[in-house]
């Protein structure tokens, strides 16, 4: 009997003692920087920070998209105040169709290149999963808990509301009957600012860039949250 008790106590001790260690193991490690050789070479030539070059490249690609958006908007019905939500949808769909036509060959990674995707994962990691928060005034623990709660709330709302699954595809329409998940402000603080026509949304573990006026997915980072 004593032997059984001793084994039980030992098992309990191991279980409680190992729990924090297991939890620590379960926490994903921070993503390692993945800078392309081209960027590394350019950084060396210009004596620049490679990460700054990656973000500058992102900005350039966003600007290029915005030029397409603005050109398409010239011929699309203007988004204006209306009592009829269907008219808002119609304006979005018209603009979306024109943008789609203008970038018919667009594919994932045109804006979010591999090194930009990696940079985004690194920017999000501290507030979502990392041991310390950056760019916020709250404590690391509180910020992470808040982000976690908000993502959980998104997930619950998705279950409650139903709607079509979001197809992660460049140029795809964001399903109008599907909840738009929120993006925690702490995450937004850490990401590059977008022009007012675009927004970030976290869909599941993925980060999408959504064109608000056209309601289309411009590009996305799969598994932005690991």
């Amino acid at each position: 009997m004593k032997v059984i008790r001793s084994i039980g106590a030992l098992a309990l001790l191991c279980a409680t003692g190992a729990a924090p260690a297991l939890a620590q193991q379960a926490a994903p490690k921070p993503p390692k920087p993945q800078i392309s050789e081209t960027t590394k070479q350019k950084a060396a030539e210009e004596n620049a920070n490679p990460d700054a070059l990656v973000l500058a490249d992102f900005q350039k690609r966003v600007d290029a998209y915005l030029a397409i958006h603005k050109e398409a908007a010239k011929d699309a019905p203007a988004l204006k105040e209306t009592n009829d939500p269907a008219q808002i949808k119609h304006a979005q769909e018209s603009l979306g169709a024109k943008i789609r036509a203008a970038r018919a060959n667009a594919k994932q990674g045109d804006i979010m290149t591999p090194e930009i995707r990696n940079k985004f994962r690194r920017l999000m990691y501290p507030v979502v999963q990392g041991p310390s928060a950056q760019g916020t005034s709250g404590s690391a623990k509180a910020v992470k808990a808040d982000v976690k709660d908000e993502l959980k709330e998104n997930s619950e709302e998705r279950k409650e509301e139903g709607g079509k699954p979001v197809v992660l595809k460049v140029n795809a329409t964001y399903p109008p009957d599907t909840p738009l998940p929120s993006t925690p402000p702490q995450v937004l603080m850490n990401l590059p600012k977008l022009p007012e026509q675009l927004e970030y949304r976290i869909v599941g573990k993925n980060l999408i860039i959504r064109d608000i006026d056209a309601n289309i997915i411009v590009d996305f980072v799969p598994n932005a949250i690991q």
Binding site: T82, I88, S137, D149, E160, T178, P179, E196, I212, D213
Partner: protein, 337 residues
């Protein structure tokens, strides 16, 4: 004796908390007349509005986190309409999460135009701020009166100006716009409304300290008097912070029962029922009453704004004094039913 002591102490404490407030402001604080104490919430008959309801005053309602289309939103909407029959408010402030879930035409119907039909039919205007669950394209929905903008200001009547902010995307451009607007403002009541609360006792979200860091200096510098927010699915009134009165009304359709955790800055809270607020401004006094979908009063009182001080670059605090009739902290969440 104790009341007299408090009456002397509160203005002194507020004055001490505003070291750079003008002498005039401090004098006005000390010279203010007390606002009559409101009855305790428990003693107010269900559905009764205890605001002064004075002819010519500015009357409005506040709802938040509304857009579910479910029975709770409908119940609050029904009570809101019933309340208007005795307290004729002219407009409704929506502090965000106006349309949860999808945002098809049917959604706008089920989650806005149908629940509030009696009010809309009565010509009541709604002014919306965007919440984290809202599609920014809602700004083009005319009944939200956003003028196609994510952030905007409006003056529904002489003596008060509202500032609707998009707290999900508080970027430099918006902050500059806000500051420019405040610089141009006059001596009216200045009320900001947006979704995320800079102060909150909520266990789920809590205070948005990042937002507080961004906005509070502007609030203080330019004399924002009152801040209305949602996001947390309960009602809460915060003890005035740097002279600013903060309210959370995020349970007009969603509720997180027992979510208020003890916090020093909480003045009153209610997290066991669905709520909305009715508010009345008469001169330098703003009276408020928070009610449930069943018409029960859960909080009431007033804030007194001292003086009509024009914004100046050197002013770092504004004269506002809380005078809550029943500003006792409510019992713990579990005991509030």
């Amino acid at each position: 004796m104790r009341r007299v002591f408090l009456f002397v102490l509160i203005p002194v404490a507020v004055a001490c908390a505003m070291p750079e407030a003008s002498v005039t402001a401090q004098t006005q604080v000390a010279a203010q007349t007390p606002v009559a104490a409101a009855p305790a919430p428990q003693s107010v008959p269900a559905g009764k509005v205890i605001l002064p309801n004075k002819a010519g005053s500015i009357k409005f309602a506040v709802i938040g986190d509304t857009g579910t289309g479910d029975k709770h939103q409908l119940a609050v909407a029904k009570q809101l309409a019933a309340t208007r029959s005795q307290f004729p408010f002219e407009f409704v402030i929506m502090v965000g999460d106006n349309i949860y879930g999808g945002n098809s035409s049917k959604d706008f119907e089920n989650k806005f135009s149908t629940p509030y039909k009696p009010l809309l039919d009565g010509g009541i205007k709604f002014y919306a701020a965007l919440g984290n669950h809202d599609d920014p394209s809602e700004r083009f929905y005319k009944p939200f009166n956003m003028n196609g903008e994510r952030y905007y200001s409006f003056k529904p009547a002489d003596g008060v100006r509202f500032y609707a902010l998009d707290s999900t995307y508080m970027d430099d451009k918006q902050l500059k716009w806000f500051e420019d607007q405040l610089k141009m403002s006059g001596s009216e009541w200045k009320i900001a409304f947006f979704h995320h609360p800079p102060y909150s006792s909520g266990e789920t979200h809590g205070s948005d300290e990042t937002l507080r860091t961004q906005l509070e200096p502007l609030f203080v510098k330019y004399g924002i008097n009152v801040v209305l927010t949602g996001h947390e699915h309960f009602y809460e009134r915060i003890k005035p912070q740097k002279g600013i009165a903060y309210f959370i009304t995020g349970s007009s359709a969603k509720l997180r029962e027992g979510n208020i955790k003890p916090a020093d800055f909480e003045a009153a809270g209610f997290d066991t029922g669905y709520t909305f607020m009715v508010v009345e401004i008469i001169g330098d006094d703003m009276y408020y009453q928070a009610m449930t979908d069943g018409g029960k009063t859960v909080d009431s009182g007033s804030v007194h704004r001292v003086g009509k001080v024009e914004p100046t670059p050197n002013r770092t605090a504004q004269p506002i004094v809380p005078t809550t009739g029943n500003g006792k902290k409510l019992p713990p969440a579990g005991d509030r039913k």
